[in-house]
Symmetry: C2
Subunit: 672 residues, 2 copies
């Protein structure tokens, strides 16, 4: 690459872009770790985008109608931190840049949502950003349809590398975006032909333009270092009604000795390499110093959005108080006042009527009362709508023809769905929930983890939550999945026992502002166990005494979901033999863990023997069986220690011994 020619062709642009490159070099050298190559390769694109196109206001990083800028190749975080600093974001100082990758700094190794201003989503696990972006773009379309173009009219811009495009989730995202004709979405593909192992030709021969085109995208190929070409491509992308992919031919680690090599992907920390690169750039300022004229050009980019933001403020100010309050409530992720009453009414009705119903169906009953009063919900399913019971009649289907539709057919794309929901929730103003089989939590797992890490209140509606799924067999029967979700920090897991607990779980999940929830729901019908109405949300305590011992209390049975019925039957049998048995329903271990010790002790006193019943593995139950005043000699588990099998559900529960009879046997054995 002839750096001198690039400098000469566009000298002003060049120095602005060089500011990103040199900040990256300095920060990586100071941290002695990080990724220099991407920011050095994509600096030109970022400069043109921020200078001429991106709608943003560094003084108001949460302006709802800002453009979203997503760095899907998140290892290039220094590009993002550089432009945030250069354009004048508060909370991104030069000192923050100097503290790159240090404890509690504003500048962690990869961009982290909510950690610093201007970070729209957490990226680093490859492919996530581009898949999030589909959610961002859908949110924008949906909110534009709801609130009008004056309130919501912005674009989503994505930087993505080879890694993002090799990850399968990108295909799910590309196909969904193309199908949904998300014209406000633009992806810049950093086509530098280098990955960590070496040239991309070691592992890939895909023509990415052809691939995107196959899913209905507008595609362009440009020189990613030519500011004029970049600008023209962006204009063309804006003019086209399809989502756009711009394949940018770039040089990783541009201008350094490591340019165009795998070494250039990582941390360039050698003094001479850094010095030589700066010399090639014509950059003679000391480390971490941006010459005043260059800084001021960047700051004026940052000021460009202020006027647009002020006009937007006027427009939103012109809305009625009620509308504005509703807009703000949805962006604040607050549940509407009506929610609690609706849930209570449903609970009361169910407790009185006591229907036998699968909790996936219970979930639908809840959604039927919730969706009409929470217009921000956006439901969906990964092609299991009728099985997940996620669609209510009022929603309408989101499509290119109907942007007011609130139900998304995500296709057979669990991972893409979860990642899109992270984008929806991060965007704000909408509250996403989406369904698949609980077993396919596996497919969505990388994005579910990010929901938890980001702290976005996505709701996962995971039905068919055990061997109760029946004949489809072990490939579709979750066994270890409750352990997996419960082991994940920051994630709420609910396994409700009946419709009342399902309603309570939904109420808690819908009221979260910073935590995602997983609802594990049955395929098979369950009796109503909460036959006495309480206005109080008992599920919020995580575990509670569902049925007290009638005889002298010698046994505590703990269970969740469909096994609460088993516990209740076992209690009946034990009581018939004079053995007093308490049944504790455990819809959410995380919430029980948060209760004070006095409460936990009331629910699980020392003394009685304990049997836990759950059609999953024992691992998460050791805490409640052996801990919380439990004792090894007085504890047993009824559940799974292998994969399931293909047979009718009732046969499976019998064969795997998840029955009242087996529970009674275990309890009595413990009593001696």
């Amino acid at each position: 690459m002839d750096i001198a020619a690039l400098r000469e062709a566009h000298p002003e642009h060049w120095m602005k872009a060089a500011a990103i490159r040199t900040l990256t070099l300095d920060a990586v050298a100071a941290a002695n770790s990080g990724h220099s190559g991407m920011p050095m390769g994509m600096a030109d694109i970022a400069t043109v985008l921020f200078e001429k196109h991106l709608k943003f206001d560094p003084k108001n990083p949460l302006w709802p109608d800002r453009d979203r800028f997503i760095v899907s190749n998140g290892h290039g975080s220094m590009l993002l931190y550089s432009v945030l600093y250069l354009t004048g974001y508060e909370g991104m100082s030069l000192q923050d840049i100097k503290d790159f990758r240090q404890w509690e700094s504003a500048t962690p190794g990869h961009p982290e949502y909510n950690h610093s201003p201007g970070i729209e989503t957490t990226t680093g696990p490859l492919g996530q950003g581009i898949a999030n972006s589909v959610g961002f773009a859908i949110a924008e379309e949906s909110l534009r349809a709801r609130w009008g173009k004056k309130i919501m009219d912005h674009r989503t811009w994505v930087f993505a590398g080879d890694g993002c495009l090799m990850e399968g989730v990108s295909q799910e995202a590309i196909a969904l975006a193309g199908h949904q004709k998300l014209g406000n979405l633009t992806v810049f593909f950093d086509h530098n032909s280098i990955t960590i192992d070496g040239p991309t030709s070691l592992a890939d021969s895909t023509d990415q333009c052809e691939r995107f085109s196959a899913s209905g995208w507008h595609v362009q190929k440009i020189d990613g270092h030519d500011p004029v070409a970049i600008d023209e491509a962006i204009e063309a992308a804006k003019a086209d009604p399809r989502p756009s992919m711009i394949q940018c031919e770039t040089h990783i680690a541009l201008g350094s000795a490591a340019q165009d090599t795998a070494k250039g992907h990582g941390a360039l920390t050698d003094d001479k390499v850094v010095a030589d690169a700066k010399a090639a750039y014509g950059w003679d300022a000391p480390a971490f110093e941006i010459p005043a004229d260059i800084k001021s050009q960047w700051e004026s980019m940052g000021e460009r959005g202020a006027a647009a933001h002020a006009e937007w403020n006027e427009r939103i100010g012109a809305l009625s108080d009620a509308k504005r309050a509703e807009f703000e409530r949805s962006f604040d992720r607050e549940a509407p006042k009506a929610l609690s009453g609706r849930i209570k009414a449903l609970k009361k009705q169910i407790s009185e009527e006591g229907p036998k119903v699968a909790t996936r169906k219970s979930s639908e009953m809840v959604l039927e009362v919730v969706n009409p009063v929470m217009k921000e919900t956006l439901g969906g399913s990964a092609d299991l709508t009728g099985s997940n019971n996620t669609k209510t009649g009022d929603l309408g289907i989101f499509s290119p023809e109907d942007r007011k539709g609130r139900y998304i057919h995500y296709g057979i794309r669990e991972h893409g769905m979860a990642a899109a929901m992270n984008g929806l929730a991060s965007h704000g103003g909408v509250k996403p929930y989406g369904g698949t089989f609980f077993c396919f939590t596996d497919y969505a797992r990388p994005a579910i983890r990010l929901s938890a890490l980001m702290g976005v209140p996505v709701i996962y509606v995971m039905t068919h939550d055990s061997i109760g799924l029946g004949e489809d067999g072990p490939t579709h029967q979750p066994v270890e999945h409750l352990a997996m979700v419960r082991a994940t920090p920051g994630l709420l897991t609910f396994r409700p026992a009946d419709t009342v607990e399902t309603a309570e779980a939904w109420e808690i999940a819908l009221s979260q502002t910073k935590k995602p929830s997983v609802l594990a729901l049955t395929r098979q019908g369950l009796p109503t166990v909460r036959t006495k109405h309480t206005t109080k949300n008992l599920t919020a305590q995580g575990a509670y005494v569902l049925a007290e011992a009638e005889n002298k209390r010698r046994v505590i049975l703990m269970a969740s979901g469909s096994e609460v019925e088993v516990a209740m039957e076992a209690k009946k049998a034990l009581e018939a033999e004079g053995i007093g048995t308490r049944v504790v329903s455990v819809p959410s271990m995380e919430l029980f863990r948060e209760q004070d010790e006095a409460y936990r002790k009331r629910v699980l006193p020392a003394g009685p023997v304990r049997v836990a019943i759950e059609a999953g593995v024992r691992q998460p139950w050791d805490w409640l069986l052996l801990g919380e005043r439990g004792r090894e000699q007085k504890a047993a588990f009824v559940g799974m220690d292998s994969f399931g099998a293909s047979a009718p559900a009732e046969v499976l529960f019998e064969k795997f011994g998840i029955t009242a009879g087996h529970t009674v046997e275990k309890a009595k054995a413990l009593l001696g």
Copy 2:
């Protein structure tokens, strides 16, 4: 669809295909569950494939040089069971067909590997089969290069539906197969335009031919009900050096009232629907009865391969005894005799030299002694070769130009890699291992579960196994992943503490015939803790006393991996205060669980207080802290209860309190 015209055009073919369709209708009706649509839609393709092309011998379903037939759209299992029965596989009787989806039947809801003859891999979770097939095809290429065309020369055939192609993992598979020019791989895409939610147009607009073509595939579009077109397309696919995708325009649930509808995807059980479909087929035999002439035509297809198999037997018989033994050993998944000696020698050397080394590097040291004596290993990494230390100098790179290469650059495709490894292992004759960061177990998770469910000895080399990864931050730092893998039935998890334990873990993993293994390895250097050589493999016991108390034993410290060093330091400090402390290393909980109680009690006697130390969540440790004679009042955990952070590793261990000092503090607090 004009069924009558189809019947008339190819009457013999029609009735053979109708046998698949009617067996499916009868079995699904009897089970009252299942999926009728795919077998009814793809019966013509299966018939032509089995009649004219597939190399197979029902009398010898494990013939190593057979073609592999993969039903990636595994819900269409009745197609597979039907042809296995029709062509005369032992172990697939008419009674088995009648027992479809019943307890312990040969015919579970989805095809399960090793469960019945002729099932090459477990499918059902969509996209897995097509991704496995890349491994099958690579295995064939690799073995052909090693053993010659006379011994290994077969093809891989895949049936796949819209669901498989919407799943992201299919993109990883397609791109890898195209890049590797796997010309012996053919995918039949069941283009019926229907998914569970309705028409595919609800969620997808992708031109699949264009998409496959973008990754270097040969593509064709045909009428999937025209046997002549099917045959010609197969011939063209065979003639082309690229992998082939044949887009077959088909009608789901062909000939039934549910044809071309989402209802047709599932179980057609209505008597009239079944009867009408059979009438349309011109089929008048009673349920489950195949007219003798049709059965005999199918059986003669099954006999077609016997001659080829006999010739192959002659060719393999002509090999030297040593070569044949080596061939059989590799297909029997047996470790070579030399393995044990090599491992022992390495252990001895390390115990004597006591180097400080990261266990990812230890793993490379092991591979350096193993790969030369296990020619069946096929290593690889998802673009983290230098970080995972998975490549040894002797392997060579597998590529279209060098099929003898034993190292696969999988690209940034963790899921595709894991699924391909399942295919490699299922194929037999090769032993796959592959690396990524432990955190990205998440991406590979659906395929890792299938390794365990299938019982294939794939080895996952998962490096950077904790916050010890450092600056890259929480997106790259596993916290819950040890809990996840340990919760998964049938999976062996190893977290070795030094090079000696790493060698032992590899020895165990390489000796497995039915269990996959996960090796969780550090980024950071660890001291050798096994400084006294033992020929015995101590890791095989799962947990063992690494260092006995010097003073009166009052504390047991348990730890795995990098935290064993912390435990050893804490022991030193405690002993200095006169507190006798035993250190128990726990490289594999699964293997410790398998030990008899006497041994477990010797390692973990009642009495002393216990502190477990692991840079992950506590969940899997409750068993050893509170169970196994443990007591809540005498147990504590030093580990993680949140996500990690971005900072240098040593800072993180300090900030998160995973230190000897903190361990000592906890132990002393328990002692009171």
